[in-house]
């Protein structure tokens, strides 16, 4: 009788896949072809099932919320006044939840999907509030800037491990940059010219703090990780 080279158990003649590991019993480089059969694989499947159940329940609840809002609006004012705005926010919550549940391990997709959903929600809100007024000059660039800074953080996290005090340090730098961009966009929308004030104060306050964090991380703690620093 053949012996599975992965598990070392004897199999009956003719078994092409080992029922224990789900792999070809004679091929050392074989990928699992059969059903997952290790305790940890079952746990992974269970976590997927739990996420699916949570998504189904949330979908029922959120879409019931939309229907209730629309009905109440329709029955009280014989038309739609506030319900479309509420529905847009509920839809946004549903899209973000869906992305978070099913794309957690793909941060770029999660980030891009969330940005598109937020932009769509802002555009719809502006539209329902009486036409496009603030979305294009303010909502779109500020949202895009926020996600751009988040993407930069993600990019550097992949290149340089941001897992110690350098993580809050980088976060503070990006917050400073985001504040400046926001003030520029708001200034252009409101006055048509750039006059940096509060964002400069924020930046000069955050910069030294970020430098202290970087210094502590790279010189004093020699790259110690946050999880060991706050180990309980």
């Amino acid at each position: 009788m053949p012996i599975c080279i992965h598990c070392g158990v004897e199999l009956d003649d003719g078994l092409k896949i080992c029922p224990l590991c789900g792999k070809n019993p004679e091929n050392s480089a074989a990928e699992a072809a059969g059903p997952a059969s290790t305790p940890s694989a079952i746990l992974k499947i269970h976590k997927k099932e739990q996420r699916r159940s949570l998504w189904e329940l949330s979908t029922i609840l959120l879409f019931s919320g939309i229907v209730i809002c629309l009905m109440v609006d329709l029955l009280t004012v014989r038309g739609f006044q506030w319900a479309p705005l509420a529905s847009v926010q509920i839809l946004l919550a549903w899209v973000v939840l869906t992305l978070f549940l099913f794309s957690r391990k793909r941060p770029l997709l999660l980030l891009a999907g969330t940005m598109v959903a937020v932009l769509a929600a802002l555009a719809a809100t502006d539209l329902f509030a009486g036409g496009f007024h603030w979305f294009l000059p303010v909502g779109l660039p500020i949202t895009a800037a926020a996600f751009l800074f988040l993407s930069i953080l993600l990019f550097f996290h992949r290149r340089i491990p941001l897992n110690g005090l350098n993580l809050p340090g980088a976060g503070l730098l990006l917050i400073a940059g985001f504040c400046m961009v926001t003030e520029i966009i708001l200034d252009l929308f409101m006055t048509g010219s750039i006059d940096l004030r509060w964002s400069l104060i924020t930046t000069v306050s955050l910069l030294p703090l970020a430098l202290i964090l970087f210094f502590t991380h790279y010189r004093l703690k020699k790259g110690r990780r946050l999880e060991t620093l706050f180990h309980v």
């Binding site: 012996i3 992965h6 598990c7 070392g8 004897e10 224990l20 746990l43 739990q50």
Partner: protein, 446 residues
């Protein structure tokens, strides 16, 4: 086997079989007193899963194992259950599912997906010439799991064409079912007694935890005869001797890490499970064990090994006596009988239980030493089953380490479970054993 099974009831079935069919008709079982704790505290790292492994002479034959599992599981139907949630208590629901036969992984005692529908609460693992059973403590304790494994091995060897001889007390598929097998021993032998005195919090190992997955296992094998000889020289039992060595290792680490300090817990206490079936007349295969908690107060000074041994011996003798253990049992069961606890919604009960466990119960002892004792199999089986091993559940992050002991075929195996980066505990303990003249062999994973 209990005599009741041999008296036929009306309809030609034994009372045990009638009880079993009534249970199946009812469709569920209440959790025993010990099991009620686990749903509140189990997690992916604190799994409450233990493993017993049998090493065979030949590689495992999958098809024979599959058939043996089917037959053995039918004999132990009360293990074919999954965990259900009621409004006030969890319960065990019959699910007609056989346990999964899975490939043994590197990290033992992986968690069960207990909230998954129809998820079995025990599993069979195989790799090379090893067959293991892993049970969630909600289902049974080490003795119950050992009965299952013996039955599985007997049936497996029969199917492989290796006649395993007279089964003796092994429960086989054809052995009549006894009503006692499913009983809750804690409730049966409960009587209201004054509670034991409250214990102080114990000192804990100061080591940092491993990266996830945290559990690391070290196995050591030695001759039972040699160890028993040394224990007898000191006029103590084998368990008492090993508990004393564990205390000595803890004291060594305690002194190494700074010793006696003000405002520090200076008490070493070891949790030693006691099989209650040896104290009370029952054949239950569900949880029926309690603990003895010998301690060493280091405020009184440093102890020599002889002093520790003497203290452990007397404490173990005293606390494992029927009266003291009955008092402990009474204290545990009386909580679940309180009206306010019974009507408390399950989610609140779980939150309170988890908080009490994390805040109090897990801090009461420094380590755990679980001895499953001497296992005997029919001599014909002994030719095919070369070794047995017991891996206790992973320790909690406070206690950090523990060990399981099992003796079989003239050999004793100590399995250390440790979630820290240090191996000092194992090192000091095993060095002491070798200095006592016992030959110790460290085993590899396979």
């Amino acid at each position: 086997m209990n005599g009741e099974n041999h008296i036929s009831a009306p309809g030609g079935r034994s009372p045990g079989e009638n009880h079993l069919s009534a249970l199946k008709k009812k469709g569920w079982l209440e959790l025993d007193n010990a099991a009620k704790l686990y749903p509140a505290i189990v997690s992916s790292s604190l799994t409450a899963v233990f493993r017993i492994t049998a090493t065979l002479r030949d590689p495992v034959r999958y098809n024979a194992l599959r058939e043996a599992v089917t037959r053995t599981s039918a004999r132990f139907p009360y293990f074919n259950v999954s965990l259900g949630s009621g409004l006030f208590w969890h319960f065990l629901e019959f699910n007609q599912q056989e346990p999964r036969i899975q490939a043994e992984e590197e990290i033992p005692c992986t968690a069960f997906a207990i909230t998954r529908k129809n998820e079995p609460l025990y599993r069979i693992l195989a790799r090379g010439n090893r067959i293991s059973v892993e049970f969630l403590h909600i289902l049974t304790d080490g003795s119950g799991a050992l009965e299952y494994l013996k039955s599985l091995l007997y049936t497996y060897l029969t199917l492989c064409g290796h006649p395993p001889g007279d089964p003796g007390g092994i429960l086989l598929p054809e052995t009549p079912f006894s009503k006692e097998e499913t009983e809750d021993g804690y409730n049966r032998f409960f009587r209201k007694l004054p509670p034991p005195s409250k214990s102080r919090k114990a000192w804990h190992l100061p080591f940092r935890l491993n990266e996830k997955p945290r559990l690391r296992v070290i196995r050591a094998e030695m001759s039972t005869k040699e160890l028993l000889g040394v224990a007898r020289e000191h006029q103590v039992s084998l368990t008492e001797y090993l508990v004393a060595v564990y205390f000595l290792a803890l004291q060594h680490i305690f002194l190494d890490s700074g010793g006696l300090k003000k405002n520090r817990k200076n008490l070493l206490r070891i949790q030693v499970p006691v099989n209650m079936r040896s104290k009370f007349p029952t054949r239950t295969l569900r949880n029926f064990s309690l603990f003895v908690l010998p301690e060493t107060d280091l405020r009184l000074g440093t102890y020599t090994f002889e002093e520790i041994l003497l203290s452990v011996h007397h404490q173990m003798q005293m606390y494992s006596g029927l009266k003291e253990i009955a008092r402990f049992l009474s204290s545990n069961v009386s909580y679940e009988k309180l009206f306010i606890i019974r009507i408390m919604p399950l989610f609140i009960k779980k939150m309170i239980t988890a908080a009490i466990y994390r805040g109090l119960a897990s801090k009461r002892f420094t380590g755990t030493v679980t001895n499953l004792g001497q296992v005997t199999l029919p001599p014909e089986m002994g030719e095919w089953v070369t070794a047995l091993e017991f891996i206790p559940p992973p320790p909690n992050p406070k206690v950090k380490a523990g060990c399981g002991i099992i003796s079989y075929n003239g050999n004793l195996r100590i399995t250390f479970v440790n979630i820290t980066r240090s191996t000092d505990l194992e090192k000091v303990m095993l060095r002491h054993l070798t200095r006592a003249g016992i030959r110790v062999k460290i085993l590899s994973d396979t």
